[in-house]
């Protein structure tokens, strides 16, 4: 933590202008759309807002969204750790290719991220007839929604971890190994604590994106109310039903969840830093 810059109080006009300019831009780009979502959600009062969460199809959508996140995020976190461990701690040929491949899903249009699974597992896709014979449904069912979500979010944890672990190098792990510590213990005791904030940030981002993903899931869902509709798709459906309050209430639930997790992350990080500072002072 040496060399880290601590934020200063604003003492002159220059910085004040900078801060105001930054805040104004954020208010325009993020604050105003968020305010729209919440004012629309509450436009017919708190009662109408709360009613939106009593509807069975809405509840089913919330459950499905949580289910998808609960499966997709840990998988991507495990992948991120494995990828970062191999790429950052070892030297091998083809590393650049692997890195580019991991980044690639970020360049895919969400529409394409959904379409590719249809090309693979749709009734007329590569594996379609095989799946049909086995009675397995992937597209227009939960597994398809899950695959689309995973493809969209796959780089997020890895991207947080790889640069950090590369910068940290393998010295600490090597030292631990030399002292006789086993691989798993080294990973748990040395590596994980060093990357926990980056890991947390990656996990939260994946989670937020997984719960909010629209484009890819829209292609893969089949839009069956109460069965394969995730929360973002439910928002669209309600909006198309002229149920604007319901649509924005569900949207504000997603936004609210995102805000809570993001603020919690910041608070956790801060607590962690304070604890770390105390620990090193002792």
């Amino acid at each position: 933590m040496i060399g880290t810059v601590a934020p200063r109080r604003i003492e002159s006009a220059g910085p004040a202008v900078l801060v105001l300019a930054a805040l104004a831009w954020l208010a325009l780009l993020i604050g105003a759309p968020m305010a729209t979502v919440f004012t629309q959600a509450l436009s017919k009062g708190l009662g109408a807002f709360l009613d939106a969460f009593k509807e069975p199809d809405g509840l089913a959508a919330i459950r499905l969204t949580l289910l998808v996140a609960v499966i997709a995020v840990p998988l991507n976190a495990a992948f991120g750790l494995a990828a970062a461990w191999s790429i950052a701690k070892f030297n091998f040929r083809g590393k650049a290719v692997l890195l580019t491949l991991i980044d690639l899903p970020l360049s895919l249009s969400p529409v394409v991220s959904g379409l590719v699974w249809v090309l693979l597992f749709g009734a007329r896709g590569w594996f379609g007839p095989m799946l049909d014979a086995g009675g397995i449904k992937i597209i227009f069912a939960v597994p398809g929604i899950l695959l689309g979500t995973i493809l969209v979010t796959v780089p997020l944890v890895a991207r947080e971890l790889i640069p950090l672990m590369a910068e940290q190098g393998a010295d600490e792990e090597l030292a631990a190994t030399t002292l006789g510590s086993g691989g798993w213990t080294t990973f748990r005791r040395v590596t994980l604590p060093n990357v926990r904030w980056a890991l947390l940030h990656g996990v939260l981002l994946s989670n937020a994106r997984a719960m909010g993903e629209f484009g890819a899931v829209s292609v893969l869902s089949g839009h069956i109310r109460g069965l394969t509709e995730t929360l973002p798709l439910h928002v669209e459906a309600l909006y198309n039903d002229y149920d604007f309050v319901g649509a924005f209430a569900s949207a504000s639930l997603l936004a609210g969840l995102a805000i809570v997790t993001l603020v919690a992350k910041t608070a956790l990080e801060r607590a962690g830093r304070v604890a770390a500072a105390k620990g090193s002072a002792l």
Binding site: G128, I136, H223, N240, Y242
Partner: protein, 321 residues
């Protein structure tokens, strides 16, 4: 989700998936309730109807790609034909049910703002300078295809069958379109919620629903001198019902659309009923209009290939020069 145990299927209520297009949400919500009660009364079997709604073309594609819909209730015969072309529905589907397998119809009308400030009465008024027309993209919306063909039909008649001049007229309309939404509901939202445009061209049922939603006195419906008979088509997806063993239920479901109760419901939800008795009762709500049919364009296959495929007349409208 992957594999329900077979044993539980017997105990679970029979299910049916209806893949439909966007503007039928309200109608099928009511209709399903009516059908489920009727079916249980007649057979004692509980049924659960699952509904899926999206753009008509998207739904047809989803069924082709493996969405296990027992029945499709789509915006136009072309989309059902597309499923039939892949062998999932018998080629003669349109003759299996009465009225070309279209149990209710609709047409294309105009919606204008209160008092009709731009004095829009017919298609000719849509090409006037300064009139902004809102309508969705025929490439992505079934309703927009009906609207495009209605305009083309009017233009062809007006120009004594001269195809080039007719297309010039339609180009004039689309020159006045500032926003091409991807679907019918999107257009309605643009016109009603965003307050953009002087006239909305689209489904009669959408127009009436929009007026219900915003309350009376803000919007008015204008019926042009000529429009098109839009026939939303329904069909049992043979391959799915044979696989799932749901043919009896699926066929009963579609036949039920033709019963008086269902026709009444359709009329309430702003679709033009086919049944004489109900139609007579709702004659005031659905005034007679001069309607051409898709046959005037040689059927959907020809109409689609000529106008909406890549390089078709719609693309020509947007070619520079």
């Amino acid at each position: 989700m992957l594999a329900l145990p077979r044993a539980s299927l017997a105990a679970a209520p029979a299910t049916l998936l209806n893949a439909s297009y966007d503007p039928t949400r309200e109608f099928y919500k009511d209709f399903n309730g009516l059908f489920v009660a009727d079916w249980q009364r007649k057979t004692g079997q509980p049924v659960r109807i699952n509904q899926s709604h999206d753009g008509s073309g998207k739904q047809a594609r989803a069924v082709v790609d493996g969405l296990e819909a027992d029945v499709v209730t789509l915006a136009l015969a072309y989309d059902v034909d597309a499923i039939a072309a892949k062998g999932l529905i018998a080629k003669n589907w349109q003759s299996r049910l009465a009225y070309n397998s279209a149990p209710y119809t609709s047409t294309i009308v105009f919606v204008v703002r209160k008092g009709n400030p731009k004095a829009i009465h017919d298609w000719i008024d849509l090409v006037k300078a300064g009139v902004k027309v809102i309508t969705p993209n025929p490439k992505t919306s079934g309703g927009a295809r009906w609207a495009y063909l209605a305009a083309l039909g009017y233009a062809t008649k007006r120009n004594g069958g001269d195809a080039t001049r007719a297309l010039g007229f339609v180009r004039g309309i689309y020159k006045n379109v500032p926003v091409l939404d991807t679907g019918a509901r999107g257009s309605t939202t643009t016109f009603v919620q965003r307050g953009i445009g002087d006239v909305l061209v689209g489904w009669e049922n959408e127009a009436m629903l929009a007026i219900d939603e915003v309350g009376p006195g803000k919007l008015e419906i204008v019926r042009p001198s000529m429009s098109i008979l839009a026939e939303p088509s329904v069909a049992v997806v043979d391959k799915v019902v044979d696989k799932r063993g749901s043919r009896k239920l699926a066929e009963a479901y579609l036949r039920f659309l033709y019963t008086e109760g269902a026709q009444e419901l359709a009329a309430k939800r702003h679709f033009r009923p086919r049944g004489q008795a109900v139609a007579a009762r709702y004659a005031a709500k659905f005034p007679r209009m001069n309607l051409i049919t898709i046959a005037a364009f040689g059927g959907w296959q020809k109409a689609q290939a000529r106008n909406f495929a890549d390089g078709g007349t719609f693309d020509k409208i947007y070619q520079p020069g």
